[in-house]
């Protein structure tokens, strides 16, 4: 959603061309998994998307369309590389995302690969009138258009809904932004953490009386993407019945406010103040009055377990695991209400007890006695070691001509009928130019060569 863009130099472009040659080699050597686009399967087969999205939100939303059969054609600009192509999330190099190269290889970025699997990729220079004409042709051949630029960019290109609907009657035009496309703050600049701040979901997270701990990730980039994907699917469903398209406006801030949950109504109905000394509640839960309800230290550095006890039966389960200790007989912990009232003392005893234990062993011991418990898992745990996740095949592997074999995060749903067709890792920069412009749009060879030579594509 941020509008900064930087220039890529010629070196990066050359690198990209040689990568495409490498891709062709790889496909011919292995004989398997041709990177050549073909007919798609899935509920969205037959839907072509002219995808102007970039960054995280847009790419994450259209990934869901691409996974389930839509022919999503990412439109990129060689001179303004998508940030995930630039961020230094590379195999074998541990860097914070601020430490990017001045002239990165646009095909090496892991984050781009992660967000853009199953999509096609073309390059168009929208500052050239021939580029805009080409975009018009692509839109005319598509039935969905998506974007998440800063407000005003699509307007500058004349790509407003009315015009898109002329180019492709019945088009669905999905716009994703931080604040939505109307209202006095429509032009405000945002990315995940700003959306989280303004919508309130940062403020409601933290220890009472301290600065908010908020979020350690752009949760709202993902969630805004999911709301966008649902909105797009709803619009496609509606169009299948009525033949009528629509423009879609999703404000990430408004999505975030929806995710505040019941506290929003506590404030609206009861006038609850969330700026008092008793809010937010850290890891404790007011409703229902669970106790213990917290995150407790375990064996190892920065290793933790979450435990949630909601009633007497679960408390008895916890005691069965803890064994006979002085605090287990303490009358201050004899009922759910008493435990809730005496959480400071209770939490200290629980932490003393968990500190010397393995977080996974304790989790399984507590679960065996009917107590909700979960190790605080890292991505190493969930991706490499979690038997529940491994058994359901959540993460999967695909090859990439520059990056090599890479893992991808799948969809957390087992469908009995619908197929998620993972046909290719993310496109190299401009990888599908020839396929899309020549084969799909019918651009003649000589014109195509001119457009390529003169930097239009």
């Amino acid at each position: 959603m941020m509008s900064e863009r930087r220039s890529a130099d010629q070196g990066a472009v050359n690198m990209q061309d040689s990568s495409i040659a490498a891709a062709a080699n790889l496909a011919s050597q292995t004989g398997a998994g041709s990177r050549q686009p073909g007919a798609r399967r899935g509920p969205l087969a037959g839907v072509r998307v002219a995808d102007f999205c970039w960054m995280g939100v847009g790419a994450c939303a259209t990934r869901l369309l691409a996974d389930f059969g839509a022919e999503v054609i990412r439109i990129e600009d060689r001179n303004r590389l998508d940030m995930p192509r630039r961020l230094p999330i590379y195999k074998g190099e541990a860097r914070t995302y601020g430490e990017e190269d001045a002239n990165p290889d646009p095909n090496k970025g892991g984050l781009f690969n992660n967000y853009n699997r199953n999509k096609l990729g073309v390059t168009i220079n929208m500052r050239d009138p021939r580029g805009r004409a080409l975009a018009d042709r692509l839109i005319s051949a598509s039935s969905v258009v998506t974007e998440n630029f800063a407000p005003g960019v699509m307007e500058r290109w004349g790509l407003v809904y009315e015009r898109l609907n002329q180019l492709s009657p019945g088009v669905i035009f999905a716009r994703m932004s931080g604040f939505g496309h109307s209202g006095p703050h429509a032009e405000y600049r945002s990315y995940g953490p700003v959306v989280q701040a303004v919508s309130g979901i940062s403020h409601i997270s933290g220890l009472p009386g301290q600065e908010p701990s908020g979020w350690g990730l752009s949760y709202m980039d993902n969630e805004a993407a999911f709301f966008n994907a649902s909105a797009l699917l709803t619009a496609i469903y509606h169009r299948n019945i009525t033949g009528v398209g629509t423009e879609i406006d999703v404000s990430a801030v408004e999505a975030g406010i929806n995710l505040l949950g019941p506290i929003m109504l506590d404030v609206a109905v009861n006038g609850r103040s969330t700026r008092g000394p008793d809010y937010p509640t850290g890891n404790r839960l007011e409703h229902p009055q669970a106790a213990p309800h917290g995150v407790y230290p375990c064996l190892g550095e920065d290793r933790w377990i979450a435990i949630a006890v909601f009633d007497d039966a679960e408390w008895q389960g916890l005691l069965a695991v803890a064994g006979d200790r002085e605090w287990t007989r303490d009358p201050r912990f004899a009922s759910q209400a008493a435990r809730f009232a005496n959480q400071d003392a209770l939490d200290a005893h629980i932490a003393d007890w968990t500190r010397s234990q393995d977080r996974h062993a304790l989790m399984h011991a507590l679960q065996a006695k009917g107590v909700a418990a979960g190790a605080v898992q890292t991505t190493e745990d969930t991706i490499d070691h979690d038997p529940q996740i491994a058994g359901r095949g959540l993460f999967f592997e695909m090859d990439h001509p520059v990056i090599g074999e890479a893992l991808f995060e799948g969809t957390p749903v087992q469908f009995s009928r619908t197929v998620q067709e993972n046909w290719r890792s993310a496109p190299l920069l401009g990888e599908d130019n020839a396929h899309v412009f020549k084969t799909l749009l019918g651009v003649p060879d000589d014109e195509y060569e001119t457009l390529a030579a003169e930097g239009v594509i």
Binding site: M2, V160, E254, V295, W304, A373, G374, P387, Q388, T418
Partner: protein, 414 residues
């Protein structure tokens, strides 16, 4: 573009019937999202009410099944039917409802399903057009399928919690507020059910969708996954900013009104730097930052602490709202940390007509967050209050009885 909420437009899911047997926010939220788009959602509850009715907070000090704000939040625009599934009649009335439904939402884990004698796979055989949406803690299969969960447990085991908390790692990871584990599951459940509806438009057939909250959390960690897929590094939590492989500067700034703004000080980008200095200078607080040596990136980087301190002072003597609006006007991506109570008066949200009033008997009009998406050619249905327990039992069961034997028709066509 006029993106005010239009009235009088059609609703995309009109004609669809959803039967919801949901006991937690994940299943209830997806039912609500479908109801908002026009589906008729029949919430099936035990005679004593769904467990979600017993969860607070409660309205105005009241108690009982009809006063739970937790229930209100997730169950607007639904009908309530009480059925004693564990009783003598067993599953017969539920199956009668499912015979005329398009979507069945269940949040029961395998052991609870077995106890009721409810087999989800056989439902898709008995009702070939039915979409059965199961949303559970860990999914219907696997070694943890019957493990207990909660919002905290889901965020912990799924991974998001590991990225959230404070710089001080003697403090445990802190759960982000608002049921985000459940909401993550609801997001994917909503997507899955829309995909299944699209699939059914092609094939005429329903299917079983098995959504795992644990997995929904495991793919909702943003950069932490690619950081493990590619460089194989772990991110470490930091106070209210991205967990990173190595520490970064604080991004929360306290303002004069004791509220916070989120702002990442980036000294390497000339445009953002100039905008910041100009803004501070305009308020007489740029101090030495206007000196020529600060126009050099390397010098700025070498003196980052000095700059951070001046920026801290700048925010500390101004109000948060002023800093938010002026900073944005200067082109800087800065966000004020709103509290929920601040949102009702936010000029942008007011102009967009975001909050929608819902009338509650004895309480009056209550402002609810409006839908998160707006469409020019169709719309969500007007919001109505969550149903009282069993409010629709007689009417719905009479309807089923009168239509017994007549196959259910939907308006769906391709």
């Amino acid at each position: 573009m006029d993106m005010q909420r239009p009235a009088g437009l059609p609703h995309p899911l009109t004609g669809l019937t959803v039967v919801e047997l949901a006991e937690d926010p994940a299943g209830e939220y997806v039912g609500r999202l479908l109801a908002e788009m026009g589906a008729r959602v029949i919430k099936v509850e035990p005679p004593g009410g769904s467990p979600s009715r017993a969860v607070g907070p409660f309205a105005k000090g009241q108690s009982g099944p009809d006063a739970s704000l937790n229930f209100w939040f997730y169950n607007s625009n639904k009908a309530s039917v009480t059925l004693d599934l564990a009783g003598r009649d067993g599953l017969a009335p539920l199956k009668a409802l499912l015979g005329r439904a398009d979507i069945f939402i269940s949040t029961l884990q395998p052991r609870a399903l077995a106890a009721l004698g409810l087999d989800l796979e056989s439902l898709t055989e008995a009702f070939p057009r039915l979409i059965v949406l199961s949303v559970t803690a860990f999914g219907l299969t696997g070694p943890w399928a019957d493990y207990k969960s909660s919002d905290l447990i889901a965020l912990a085991a799924g991974g998001p919690l590991n990225s959230c908390g404070y710089d001080d790692h003697s403090i445990p990871p802190i759960r982000p507020g608002g049921n985000q584990g459940y909401h993550s599951a609801a997001s994917f459940a909503h997507i899955a059910v829309m995909l299944a509806l699209l699939e059914r438009q092609k094939s005429g057939l329903g299917q079983l969708l098995d959504v795992s909250m644990h997995e929904a959390c495991a793919v909702n960690v943003e950069l932490a996954n690619p950081y493990w897929f590619y460089p194989k590094v772990q991110v470490k939590r930091q106070t209210c900013r991205h967990a990173q492989p190595s520490p970064t500067q604080p991004a929360l700034f306290r303002c004069a009104d004791d509220r916070f703004v989120y702002f990442v000080l980036i000294v390497a980008e000339p445009k953002a730097w100039q905008a910041l200095v100009q803004w501070m200078d305009g308020k007489g607080m740029a101090a030495q930052l206007t000196e020529p040596e600060f126009s050099d990136v390397a010098y700025r980087q070498a003196n980052f602490d000095q700059i951070q301190e001046l920026v801290e002072c700048f925010f500390l003597v101004h109000g948060s709202d002023e800093m938010y609006k002026e900073g944005q006007a200067a082109g800087l991506p800065i966000g004020v940390l709103n509290a929920p109570e601040d949102l009702f008066a936010d000029e942008h949200l007011v102009a967009r007509g975001f909050f929608v009033d819902v009338e509650h008997e004895g309480v009056g009009a209550v402002p609810y967050p409006g839908a998160a998406y707006r469409f020019t050619n169709f719309a969500e249905v007007p919001r109505t209050a969550a149903p009282k327990l069993g409010a629709d039992t007689a009417a719905v069961l009479a309807e089923v009885a009168s239509e017994a034997g007549a196959p259910h028709k939907t308006t769906e066509t391709v």
